[in-house]
Each structure stands twice: as C-alpha cells, then as structure tokens.
C-alpha cells in the first residue's frame, strides 16, 4: 500500500541519496520522476511471473492468499496503533517494525490474490474497498490491543502459530506463496522471539507484572483455537492448520512454564453457526478498525502522492 514509505530514521541518509540522484540525473523537467511512488515501481510483485501453476485453482489460491494476507494486514494495523502509545520508545520502534514486516507480507499476498482470481484487483483495492464481511482474517488479529501485556500475549500466539504455518508453506507449489512464506519464516521468528522475551520478562517479573501478563493471556486464549480449525479452502490448497495445534500448544506451554504463568483453560470463542473469521464473520472489533484504516482512501478515491 502506498502510505508507509518511511520508517523512523529513513530520512537523513535517504535524503542525501535522493538529492545526489537528482543532481546526477541532470536536467529533469519533471522532478516527480525521481520519486519512486507513482512511477510504477511500487508493485510488490514487479515483474514476477504471476502465472497460476497448472493444477492449482485460481479462485482457491486467491481465497487462501486473502486469508493469510488479511491476518497480516489487520495485525499490522493493530501494531501500528501502538505508535506514540508504547511504554518505551524502543518498544514503539519494535512494534512498528513488526507491523512493517506484516504489512509487507500482506501487500504481496493481497496482490497475489487479485491476480489469482483473475479480477485484476490490486492491493489497494482489496485493502481499502472491501467491506467487513469480505475480510477473511481470524478473529485473534482483530481483537483490540488492550494493554501492553495483552498485545504481547496476542503476538506470542499469532507469531508462534504463523511461523509454524509458514514453515509448511515454504514448499507450496505456488511460487509466490512459497516465497512469501520462506521470507516470512525468518521474520516471524523475530516476532516470536520478541513476544517470548516480553512474556518471560513480565511473567518472571513482579507479582503485578505477572498478573497483568496472565490477564492478557487469559483474554486472548479463546481466540487461539480458530487458527487451527481448517476451512475448506485451506484443506484444498493450503496447509491443514489442525496439524499445527499440538506443536504450537507445546511451544506455548514451554514458554509459559518458563515464565511462571499458567496455560489458560478458557474454551475457544464460539463460531456463528460454524462460521468465523475465515468466512467473513467477525467480532465487533473489526468494523471500527477498518473504518479508521480505510477512511483516507475512501475520502479521496484514486488519490496518489
């Protein structure tokens, strides 16, 4: 998407370089040409062979990429909400970095979805112009941030499970999905490591920090199981997520034991007639998130900058 070009600190070095390139390019009637955005180079799959491999159903591939892409996109938005609100500047930068990784994965997956279903919809159209019931993310990622421990708990669950899924998908027959997963495995390893380190620090800290961490885990735990409930599309074209339940729960249990925390016994959040996030059935938290996320694009259709 086109609204995120700079991380904190990108300027400085980057600006010098832009000026250098400007001066070396010689007379340039249109200075905009030296600015990458709007020049056609912002396609996250620029020049990549996007043929859907024989034997794969394009509609299924698109639906699956939307599921994974929406997970990443919605959690990226939640992580971004911590900007200016994190307990320390270092954590704010960390959470923004994690969000940026997820946003990059989402851009690739949404772009792939728009190609695979033959609709030609780009990442922006899919991100900004779908309605709530068209989003295919699990409900875990849309839940409000809560306090810092609550967000750490959600990140721990998601990163542990998503890293394990990406490991399986790195061998997927679709080369784009496989490439996103292969890159994502290492990115998610950093996310998991970050969430694990904070879970240990808070759980093994003071009685007060442990209680807050436990409360965060208790709050998000009912949303974990949805990650392991296979949707028909996942069974046809993806990896069966039910195979992840046991190894992910084992990893999480080891972290919580080390942190002196208790594995919650809360039951999974019920689906609605067997339908949940993967079918577009969401909690009341997604609507406000999307309203904020989509408002600028919808107020200025087709705007570029």
């Amino acid at each position: 998407m086109t609204d995120h070009h700079a991380m904190p600190g990108h300027h400085g070095a980057g600006d010098d370089h832009v000026y250098l390139a400007l001066s070396e390019a010689g007379p340039e009637p249109d200075g905009e040409a030296r600015w990458a955005y709007g020049t056609g180079f912002s396609d996250p799959l620029l020049g990549v062979d996007t043929t859907v491999p024989a034997g794969l159903d394009g509609a299924d591939l698109a639906a699956y990429c939307l599921m994974l892409g929406d997970d990443a996109l919605v959690l990226a938005q939640r992580l971004t909400e911590w900007c200016t609100r994190a307990p320390e500047l270092e954590e704010e930068v960390a959470l923004a970095n994690l969000g940026l990784d997820l946003l990059g994965q989402a851009r690739l997956l949404l772009t792939r979805a728009g190609q695979a279903d033959g609709s030609g919809r780009g990442e922006d159209e899919l991100a900004y112009w779908r309605e709530e019931h068209e989003f295919r993310n699990v409900r875990l990622v849309e839940a409000p941030n809560g306090d810092f421990a609550h967000s750490v708990a959600r990140l721990l669950l998601f990163a542990t499970a998503r890293g394990a899924l990406y490991r399986l998908l790195a061998g997927h027959p679709d080369p784009v999905l496989a490439a996103v997963a292969a890159r994502g495995v290492l990115e998610l390893a950093y996310h998991q490591e970050y969430a694990t380190a904070w879970t240990l620090r808070l759980g093994d800290g003071t009685p007060y920090s442990a209680a807050r961490m436990q409360a965060g885990l208790d709050a998000v735990w009912p949303l974990l199981d949805e990650l392991f409930v296979p949707h028909a599309v996942e069974l046809r074209i993806g990896a069966d997520p039910s195979a992840l339940r046991e190894p992910v729960l084992r990893t999480l249990a080891a972290v919580l034991a080390e942190a002196g925390l208790t594995v919650p016994e809360a039951r999974p959040l019920a689906s609605v007639g067997g339908r949940a996030g993967r079918d577009g059935v969401h909690t009341e938290a997604l609507g406000p998130l999307l309203a904020e996320f989509q408002v600028v694009a919808r107020a200025n259709p087709g705007a570029t900058w």
Binding site: A6, A25, F41, P44, G47, L102, R183, Y190
Partner: protein, 163 residues
C-alpha cells in the same frame, strides 16, 4: 552504447542503497542478476525484508541509472526466491558498514528462542573494537538494524541483524 552484460551489471551494481548509502546494491546483495538481450537490459532485485520500504526507490534508481548509461530499453524485476539473506552482503560491504560505524551481521539464521539465561552473540564495537557490548533493542531505525551500546567507549551503535 555499451551492450556487454558486464557493463550493464557494473552500472546497476554501482547504485547506492537508499537506506545504507555507503553500500551499493551489489554489496548489499540486493542485485540478483542483470541480463542483456539485444539493446534490452533486465535487472533483478531481491527485497531485503517483506516490508522493505526502499525497494521501489531501488528499482527506480536502477532503471534511471541504466537509462542514463545509454540503455533505452530497461526492465527492473523482483526476484523473491531465494529470499535475501544477510549472508549476501559482500566482504567489501561488511568492511564499509564497519567503517561507517555499523556493525556487520554474523552468519545468517533465525534468532534462537531463548528460554534459559540469555546468551548474546559476541559483537565488537565498530567504533573502538571493544567486545563489552550489549543489545539495547532488537529493532532499530530500519527493518534490518538493531540498536547496541558499547560499554568500553560508551557509544551506541547500530548493527545489521542476521536474517
């Protein structure tokens, strides 16, 4: 007009990275290949991180440099497989990073899930060479960097983290 592949490679290889301008795209390992066919040049780039915000600028820069060097027909493409790794940073690149005060990465690999006592990699300070250093934050000003501090010279420094 130059037409040899090596010449086109040299042009693309010399483009500086937007976020680490002391390195070229070749030294960073982002330039994955250059091919010429007739007068047409195709350059492949491999993004560092999924969310690398600089890739569009890199592509525009490579395109502009090749055109300025006399190639009228330039295509820039992304190559996602195999994924970029810090192991692709060349020896020259590592030296230039250190000279700029940025500690180069060690051998690539995922961070270990640390449940027991924390054991960090030994990282030398790029300012004074001291080894009494500590990580302040795994995340820094760009996706590829972490923030460290040297207890010998008491200066903070950035470090490319392994991926």
């Amino acid at each position: 007009m130059v037409t040899a592949p090596a010449a086109a490679w040299d042009v693309a290889a010399a483009v500086p990275d937007p976020e680490l301008p002391m390195l070229t795209l070749a030294e960073l390992g982002v330039l994955a290949g250059v091919e010429t066919e007739g007068g047409a040049v195709t350059a492949w780039l491999t993004p560092t991180y999924s969310g690398c915000p600089a890739i569009a600028e890199m592509a525009a820069d490579v395109d502009a440099r090749l055109r300025a060097a006399g190639y009228p027909d330039v295509r820039v493409r992304l190559r996602l497989d195999p994924p970029w790794s810090t192991d692709r940073i060349t020896e020259d690149g590592r030296r230039k990073l250190a000279e700029a005060g940025i500690a180069p990465p060690g051998p690539a690999g995922p961070p270990l899930l640390r449940l027991g006592p924390t054991r960090h990699r030994v990282v030398s300070c790029p300012q004074c060479g001291g080894t009494d250093t500590e990580e302040l934050s795994r995340f820094g000003s760009t996706a590829c960097k972490a923030l460290w501090r040297c207890r010998d010279c008491r200066e903070p420094f950035e470090r490319i983290k392994e991926i």
